[in-house]
Symmetry: C2
């Protein structure tokens, strides 16, 4: 059943709407500004038209789905924060006190927490979706992070949740995340998918010092030597060294792309999930927008691999969806300028002539 | 009288509030996130606290003042658009059809056009402030762009206008601009103030081809050889090769800084005006935020000279205030996260320990 929902979602993927993109490109040339003067906003407006099939791509409501899970690999001492903080931060999200909540309020976005594997009993709450696949992954330094069926179940939970928020009206989806330890599986995935050396894609996460970073690299190298995951089998890669929230993000990305709803990506964890999705089904790539460039080095590797250029670069390394939320006004600005600016004809402004 | 208003404004400049900055820095360490994880938003929140003297720096209402003027240097064929477009675009601003209008509506900012030197009769309009100093500058390829008294009058108009919008409630001011030909005086000012070669600070403006760019560089080089302006006399520099809207922006920057209201800078023209202000009174610099990095090469020279790092880099080269408007949500986000996020204590989240 899991595999068939995944397969059905992948089958539903389509190409961007070339006609809408051509219409957007054409209109950009008619607007009262020098050709190309809105820079990346112009390209973004054309991409969004390709996603939605029209010039007025809806850019609200925006739904942030914070996928939360724990990581057995924290037993190896790879994080500056204890695992208990995952559940504590989930409560902080539900109380509205985290950075993602503050930015979501500012941007008019909703925040839903999706528990796919937090190692704690959480209280029921209207903004919490409970789909615990297991209470955190196993320690992948000694065994596979999870079973293949668990990977598929977590992806499926992501698909179902994205389908639900889209059915409820969301027109932009931001997959966020919370999971103490999750830059470690992300770095392992980056090393395998991009072929870069572990040291090049491993960062300091929430704040390791140099010795901790060196140890984290060593843990990842040993785990990759133990499991020998293949870059061509992304489900098996998640099984060996993945995370439950990363698998859920993969599902969200595929479901959003299948529904032709733009997926606004945050940092290294979200982009790890998107990279798995892109390996499963490259047709999802044109439906992704990279919100920001994180300080985590694995993020750059993923972005280069996907051929994506992030909109913002503000030295963030917080996750949760914060960098994506900060980029949301840029998506809205690109659509609004495309649609609301006067044309040269309408405003009786002369066009320039290149000399 | 002009000189005394300018002198009084400069005398009113003060230092950032160190106590408020320390309080902001301290609070950033208590918020539920890894230390430093909000990157440049943290530094921005601290800077804004220094400007306003409190943690809750007001970030609205925001007023865009589009300073408009014409340029005699266009007689040399330095622009891809005809001079008549300055007035046509003013009408477009008043009708709400330009990019700056669209973005101001999105961001909840007001747009006022300040005519300091448009070479056309403009209709009266509630959003148009009429203070024409002269109908465009003289062609500085053959004579000084204006008289020293006109420079001071234009700066004074900027000061008065900024004081007025601040008295009317503005808590962020964006000096925008419109003036066909104005990347030419900006490049000349950049060459003189930063000491860089004309070719390094001259761009293609609204869309020159290579031959046009080469000619523009030659016009600027000859003008600088003719007038020999000194980098240490910014009023005289404006007199020789400046623009009326650039002088008005200088006044807006000084008045905003004196009123301890953050000035959010757009691209090369706004930063030319700010660089003149900084040369007149370096104390204004801490009150400036660079919204974005323009594609015009002179902008980078100014920013390096001022020691400023822009928030956005989206390949824009439109002016009007558009790049600054796009950055406004980032200022608001920095203040909101500083003030609205829960602390570790409030949320009962454990702090990390660097290993």
């Amino acid at each position: 059943m899991s595999e068939s929902l995944l397969a059905a979602t992948i089958s539903a993927l389509g190409l961007p709407d070339e006609k809408a993109m051509a219409a957007a490109r054409d209109r950009q040339e008619q607007l009262t500004k020098p050709s190309g003067a809105l820079g990346r906003l112009e390209a973004l407006s054309i991409q969004l038209a390709g996603i939605s099939g029209r010039l007025q791509t809806p850019t609200s409501p925006c739904a942030v789905i914070i996928c939360a899970a724990d990581h057995g690999i924290t037993a190896e001492g790879v994080s500056a924060f204890p695992s208990a903080v995952t559940a504590q931060m989930v409560l902080n999200f539900l109380a509205g006190g985290a950075a993602a909540n503050v930015l979501a309020r500012q941007m008019g976005a909703s925040v839903t927490v999706l528990d796919v594997g937090v190692d704690a009993d959480l209280p029921s709450h209207p903004n919490l979706i409970e789909h615990k696949i297991r209470r955190g992954t196993a320690n992948f330094a000694v065994e596979a992070a999870m079973q293949a069926e668990e990977v598929l179940a977590a992806i499926e939970v992501g698909i179902r949740t994205a389908n639900q928020v889209i059915a409820d009206g969301a027109r932009i989806v931001i997959p966020g995340e919370m999971g103490i330890g999750n830059t470690t599986p992300s770095a392992a995935i980056a090393a395998v998918l991009t072929g870069q050396a572990v040291e090049m894609v491993t960062g300091t996460g929430t704040g390791l010092a140099f010795a901790g970073w060196r140890h984290k690299c060593e843990v990842i190298r040993k785990a990759l030597a133990l499991h020998k995951p293949s870059s061509t089998d992304p489900i098996d890669l998640l099984r060996c060294v993945g995370g439950l929230e990363i698998a859920a993000i993969t599902g969200i990305v595929l479901a959003g792309a299948a529904a032709r709803v733009p997926i606004l990506l945050d940092g290294v964890i979200a982009t790890a999930g998107a990279s798995i999705a892109a390996r499963l089904a490259p047709l999802c790539i044109p439906f992704l927008v990279s919100g920001h460039h994180s300080q985590e080095p694995g993020h750059r590797a993923f972005l280069e691999h996907l051929g994506m250029l992030p909109l913002l670069d503000l030295d963030l390394r917080l996750g949760e969806g914060t960098g994506a939320l900060l980029a949301l006004p840029l998506l809205q600005a690109s659509v609004r300028t495309l649609n609301e600016m006067a044309t040269f004809d309408e405003a009786a402004v002369e066009k320039g002539i290149e000399d």
